[in-house]
Symmetry: C2
Subunit: 365 residues, 2 copies
Amino acid sequence: MTQTKRRASELVREQISSLLAAWGMDADIVRITAEVMVETDLAGVDSHGVSMLMDYEDFRQRGKLNVKARPQIVMETPVAGRVDAGAGLGHPAAVMGMELAIKKAREMGVGVVTVFNSHHFGAAGYYARLASSAGFVGMVTSCTRSIAMVPTRAAVPVLGTNPIAFAAPAKRNAPFLLDMATTSVANNKLKVYDLNGKTLPAGWVLDGKGEPVREPKQAMEIVRSGGKSGGGQTPLGGTAEMSSHKGYGLAMMGHILGGTLSGGSFSPIRNRTQKTSDPDRLGHFFLAIDPKVFRPEGAFEADLDDAIDVLHATAPIDPALPVLVPGDPERASRADRLKNGIPLPDTLLEKIRAICVRSGVPYLL
Amino acid sequence: MTQTKRRASELVREQISSLLAAWGMDADIVRITAEVMVETDLAGVDSHGVSMLMDYEDFRQRGKLNVKARPQIVMETPVAGRVDAGAGLGHPAAVMGMELAIKKAREMGVGVVTVFNSHHFGAAGYYARLASSAGFVGMVTSCTRSIAMVPTRAAVPVLGTNPIAFAAPAKRNAPFLLDMATTSVANNKLKVYDLNGKTLPAGWVLDGKGEPVREPKQAMEIVRSGGKSGGGQTPLGGTAEMSSHKGYGLAMMGHILGGTLSGGSFSPIRNRTQKTSDPDRLGHFFLAIDPKVFRPEGAFEADLDDAIDVLHATAPIDPALPVLVPGDPERASRADRLKNGIPLPDTLLEKIRAICVRSGVPYLL
């Protein structure tokens, strides 16, 4: 059984920063990337924060990640923009993208920015939250590197776990924040079941014949193979009977906005035309809307507060499990982890230690 | 067993038009509303087309529907707009809303328009398609009249079936069109199971204790009661284990854009503060984006074509059931129904006949 240690978020930030700096990234790029990664771990999205360091090291070693990249605005209109991520990590380009969308929304009411030539950008919710923190409605989607999702009726995976994030500001209440993969569950949840040898619920992963896979090792093999053996993760909905075509459609919506509109790659096409040393050429989508354009000042926030209050006050099935509003779990996690530290499994800590050795920086965790 | 008759779409259009005109609507409002309703039936969305006439008659009789309403643009900026539906049916206001968003997108690259003081507007997909037909990416959401969806963990329903529609233009292929309720299944599907006395799949409807309801009569009673007895329709995902919190979150996203941003009502609050003769005060959201702002002319459409081709070519589990792309079922339905007529159950035809008698117009179907 894997042990888990709690480590202060500032220590995790320092470790990430020292590694990224050792790889050659500029100080400001390091600062932004580490900030997004640590906030992602604080929010409880363990799959998209510090645990991504192994992938990022792999990208760098294969020569597909440009550690010297500085994101640049390459097109701008009063309401739109394009950011070239320069084949660097997605985080600084995505922050620039959403900040530009917010700037446009502040000036014109609406801003739409796409990012291209990017890599993995962590959790989409972080960028949606940038908008709500500034008083704007924010929406984020992305295309993906991995192939994981089996479309409804398909024997093999084609799409990724394409995320959709959406945030909106309230006043009395914390902002609304939806941050979701369009698969039924995140990869990380499968890993946790595998780690604990726990049987999967039917409908998370299918085999090449469309049958549910409940044995966690077999499920992980299917997911790791990226479709070579057939089967993969289900779209939200799980089965055709439960309307998995909607989760599949939402994944494509995420790809069309994040990928097609930005000029990002579509994984099945990229994988057969590019070398493994080529950049992932991911794209992201950022939308910001100023509620004050549509409502008198404060009216949007007041109405959202009223709706959130209704949701929180809704009678639960089990009084011990009250009805949550999207964003509540992330905030609860953040409060806990800021106080008690970020939980890091020994297996992850050992991998980070090895990266530190290879990168010639002190191991801090 | 209910019999179904096929009726030519032009006849259905004539019947709808004659009824709306008899109720006092202006000719141009009648034309637009009938067009949206007939196209909705042609697309196979039986729950949102001509079968809504009974509800619309009820709205009118209760005095909540303003048949003399003419939608009006009441606020405009270079990229944004607001349309007052005047307590009329949502269709003409929604067409005006999306057409205004398209006009803004044509001029500025992006357009966002909200509609307020509206009623039911039919199928959201119709309006998203207006954008893709004009060469734009389109997104539509709406707040809802009915309360149907039980949030994850809740014993009673709070949200509606808040729709999300998204369309994008291709070139070789027909446009991508996602048009979905954020519940696991549409109300209409439950009605069909009830009509045929068929056992429901577990996870479409829950009772007040969170247990699946599989007996169709009991399920329909729960849904019709609007939560008074507890229980309701599940959010996309179905169960907490299958991530129904995502479907619930998407429903709220639909409400926040369609309702909170527009100044529309939130059903649980409206229902305890308004008289049944008051308008529903629904709101809708329309977004249009010009791909040419972000990509060289034709590049977006070409990339989307390539992605759609990959999806269509994906190996299916059953060769007799090829992988579909969102929009395919609607187009297949349209081709069939244009040729063979719109299938209308006898039970529905009898109800329409009764409306014709009450409205003093000839019954044509």
